[in-house]
Symmetry: D4
């Protein structure tokens, strides 16, 4: 078969170099479902063109290869995120995104959200283990919570945390359901449905385990003020 | 076809007169899916045998027919419950079952639970409109809640109420999911899954909209102490 | 059963008068699943306390009753929204929320979103019939779209519209799936799943047909800048 | 990102030391989804504070590490439960919880329920292999069954056991569906739905495979009498 | 468009007159989804060709029209079955098919099964209201049950009846799940899954509410012996 | 809210007059979910611009209104299709599309497919009542079937017809699942899944009940040869 | 916890020695979900009591252990069946059960059905690779098929085979859906739904991959004639 | 059990040598679910009879065995396709099928479609990484796209690509949903539903990940013109 094509094309992938112009942010490399070779080639090409890189769902082998090639690589193994170069320097980050995780098992997804929002220019705070089974733990953190311009609320199982938070603050809440749980959790479905049908307004939801999407959307919202 | 059979048989139904001996409680007449004639015949036969009757999901037409026949009929239209005769006199009710409803639309199911628990011998209190979108309303009622020996927590949509309550009290919580909601509520599925997967222990769940089952189970639990 | 309770309680409902203090916005009356009498009583009590009212999923009968009682009632039959009093005067609205509807059948939900965002203080523009089957219609409106601070993208069927838009603009997109469609749409499930799994970042999703939730969230986000 | 926080916080987890005061029972450590290091740190901190520990879904490696550190560790490999210290001494256990398992494959979940109820202070009896395919086996045990104050009925596949039992006894039945089965069992869904829709009243249901939840709820109910 | 075709064709339907030769039984008229005119035309044509007719899911209007045209029409309104002519005279019926219905609401489906098996040549007995919530009612009928060559067990809700019966008899059991129930019954899904996953062997299952299919299959099995 | 916009815009809809240039075919008016007024306005505007109109899912009231306004209106009530003007004259139709319907109840959907393919320029033949329960009826029509350039195979219930046909002919088969059936048909899901997973290659599938989509695709394929 | 109990109890399992008396057939050992030790202990105890053993879903390790202990062990690795002793000698088998498999991948399940029916006393024939994609292969075997007293039809994917067969023969068809397939097969769901909703009568269905259940039911039916 | 049978039968499989005569194309070997030995035997027998072979879902071990036996074997590891002999020589391929893949992870399925269409006689072009998140990449390729007689559009996640393409071209689009994605993708369900419910006509859909089916159907359509 004849492959065809033009532009900055790696055959299996096409660097979307105009994305920054259209949306204000560079493309991100989603590494799951790509071979390590494919991810490496894409990241390398992006760095050659001077594009700062955020890779998500990155495994250890890829991180090591990239780290050997680019010394400014930073890898968060728990969150599965990898950055090379910086889109926004730490001291230039603006506005506070607070990521709230219901339980310890939700931390990898919370971490992915946090790293993503930071990469694109938000200041990020993390509040952990405040699930609704012991709701006073959440109330203890209310003052902190109210400082946030945007909140990412992360929970598996019944996914009730975002609804409780949305009733207590005026910031918009991005709800991130996780696949944490078993049985009738059906891989995160219970948390997803719970968040979508919450009786509290001020919530919108991203895909199950999609820490990247939650962090990206939180940063977009946070960025409105600065423009 | 030859119909066959023995005992106290109405052809289409068989009065389970031994149920009281086995489980301590008389049979209940579930009127949905039966014709008005069938329900009337069953109730009449039970009254002839001196069995106190609780009918659930009873429509207005049935209630009127039964009311004309038996002057001590009591009908709660919103809850769809109908009683003829009493299993336990009001002054003999013992132990407190508190039914907590998240929203106004949950009241018919809460009512069915309350009427059932009362019929079988529990004292019942009702707390309404304390959904998690305004969680302080629940905290205002905490002292009341803690007086209950058993709690029935009723909610549709994301069904988070039982989990929040179970983290605050030592009484067992019977969670009653309702079909209140739309879209991703999928007829009560979201509330059901949320209650089953709650991160708080001390909850067990009945079928969607099954106010009768919740009230019956709450009364069974409440009755343990008295025996 | 003994009903109990304190505060501003209608028995079946409890006006959450502290909500404004906690979240910055008054409570909204969701009329579906309440009797016309119940909705009327709640709205009347809120007006007595000077709270501006937004009612959603309001039927014609309720609108007429409220209209007779309060001359400043405004009712949008297609959107099912009813307002009495104003939370924010038209001339004080700030920031642009653009609601984009894929097809004619999506208009009621788009209307609910638009009316909600306006009620709480946003300026709103509406773009209609730009579904992806004729994507040039969307491109014709790109300049308009890019003026928005927040976009609500409304679609049934495959729900692809928000993903296409999110790849073209820098504003956050609130995706509102609708139950428009048949067969494998499964009451809006196809649109919901499509929006949740979109390959484009910058999207978060509300419940199927939840125009109110989308408009509320869009206004929350839009309001960040003003504080 | 800045982590923040106060109290007895391990960073990834927060010991809920007020839980005992609120609900009468200490927190339990759910080990699935936590790293062995995380679980070990939580258990160690709890023991330092004198809190008796029940760990569920605990693997062998964790059990060995904890066993080396705390000589009074008890581990039930089949049930996946681990205890360190005691909340209630064996001789102080009160009231009988009977756990009934339909088949051999249900034993791990039955075991988790039994160990949990014992830990929190119930006496526990176990009846096994009495599935409805040979219902006389259940009838042979009826006298034993009727001694229970609370029954936990454990079954996979069609999950019919709790319904049969509830029609024979006056004790409340906690139904525990398991993922035992294949094909149309859909990971325990058939048992779960069967238990929720049982035509027999006196049943409430916990999540699929949630032996802990069933045992906890059974103990809560059993404990009512003693207070 | 050109319609085309040959044989005994009504345009919208084609009488399968060879069916009797292939399978031993004439075609049956399933009236749901056909207009009354279409059903009438098909039945009339079949009678003209001397084929005995069984119509299922037949409404009252159709029954009246057919009754006026053919005096030997028999209509069972509850079961929705209509017969014109006889395939097998009552006195020639052989072998006993016993239809067992769990509850009163299952009777229409049980009736459809019974009428179908009779029409095709089986003797039929009916046992009603023996659901597993009062399982002694079933045991009282055990002797009768054991006389059957084939059993059709009809139940909604959790659908446990066929499994209990199959463990008690040596006859094959055809399980007929019904849509009786609500909430987590999901239109008969719970009963269907329960019957498919029963731990008792000797069961095979037909579609939800498919009384015709159950009766037809029971008669086929019953007929084996006679050939 | 300000409505905005340019072009041939009815406010609630936008006539896609460039569609013909892009895809070779004019836009179609899908009438479900639009008010009669909206549909009438769209059709009228299209006729004013000289565009031939095919309306689908059109009700009787709309058909009557359009018929009064445009004398060349043709309405097929069973199929729900309405045409005004012609895109391709009958004598100019080319290539044979054969629509095969499994049962009488599938005819409305088969009709929608047939009318659509004809409108856009195909010759159409219809073969009815050849479901797989009497497969010889299909074999009798094999010669006819093999004359088709494209086949649309329409079936509800188990949806096996397209797979059987695809194994017998060399033409591509468009499979159209219908919602005909009950119980485990789940509104056409069983037919849809059956068609998607058929073991015979040469099949592709459209949405449940989507006669329009099947006829449109069949015509597109049929039209290839003519270009 | 105190274990309790009487009778022939292995602690984790209870040999149902009365089963033969009730149903005419001994218990079968379902080995999945049991440890190899548990299965071995059960089989050994059964042999000690002289009960002939059929084990299903038996792995190689178990087969080897049992083979060493009992020389008359027979193991069919593909089907996962293991027999020790015989319930019915080969020369005493009566009546023909024909197992028809759609494809090569269905053979393990077909084998389980065949071995089971043989063990309990049926003669068995096997017809393979006659899926509906090449339906003439089925027609070539029609004469053979018509010799069967009972047919087991095995298919994955769309599961159409049983429906086609049921329209061609007068024997009852037991439909065995398999998990063969991928994507929209959803682990056998498509085949299961297809078989349940088949438009051909004379079919009843067992659980996905339940070769044992199909063979057992086929033998029960086959055995009717002999009694 | 006696195996029976005639014709070109391998016992576990039956070469359908008449398929070419009926449908114009030889049988294809689907290797998943077959042992390597079975696949090898089938391929060898086909080659002995001179039939050109296309094997799909072929693993490396099989490819190596076949390669050693037949030197003209070609294996595409990413696509999992293996050919031995040729059905149509490269220089005789006619008509252009264009396979368009949304993302890098969709390439294996796109490859299977491309290889299949080529094997059966189509010329094939491949366009990659044109997902709707950066829709300008698709517009850059529009001229290429419009040269295709048939388009296969491959996408996971929300599956919006086929709908966008179908609105831009006049060729029929075969939509191939893939299991690429996570969370609410539910193994490809979101893409499947999105494609089935697309608002753009001119699309028909194959099973999730069924590259073979898409390529086969595309070639059938492409071949119409040549006959």
């Amino acid at each position: 078969m004849d492959g065809g094509a033009t532009g900055d094309n790696l055959g299996f992938a096409w660097i979307d170099s105009g994305r920054s112009r259209r949306t204000g942010y560079p493309e991100v490399v989603y590494c799951m479902g790509k071979t390590v070779d494919q991810s490496e080639a894409i990241i390398t090409r992006m760095r050659e063109k001077g594009i700062p890189v955020l890779g998500t769902r990155a495994g250890k082998e890829l991180a090591e290869r990239i780290g050997r090639r680019f010394p400014d690589t930073e890898y968060d193994e728990s969150a599965g995120t990898l950055t090379v170069g910086s889109f926004c320097k730490p001291e230039e980050r603006r506005g506070l995104v607070t990521v709230v995780a219901a339980g310890t098992s939700d931390l990898p997804y919370a971490g992915e959200a946090a790293r993503t929002a930071e990469f694109f220019g938000s200041r990020v705070a993390l509040i952990t283990d405040v699930g609704i089974a012991g709701i006073h733990r959440l109330f203890n953190r209310l003052e902190e919570l109210r400082k946030a311009r945007v909140i990412v609320a992360v929970a598996g199982m019944e996914g009730a945390l975002p609804g409780v938070i949305a009733g207590l603050v005026s910031a918009p809440v991005i709800a991130l359901p996780t696949s944490v749980g078993y049985g009738a959790s059906f891989g995160g479905l219970s948390a997803l449905l719970g968040m979508l049908t919450s009786c509290a307004p001020g919530i919108s939801v991203v895909n199950i385990d999609n820490g990247f999407g939650a962090g990206y959307q939180a940063n977009l919202i946070n960025a409105i003020q600065r423009s």
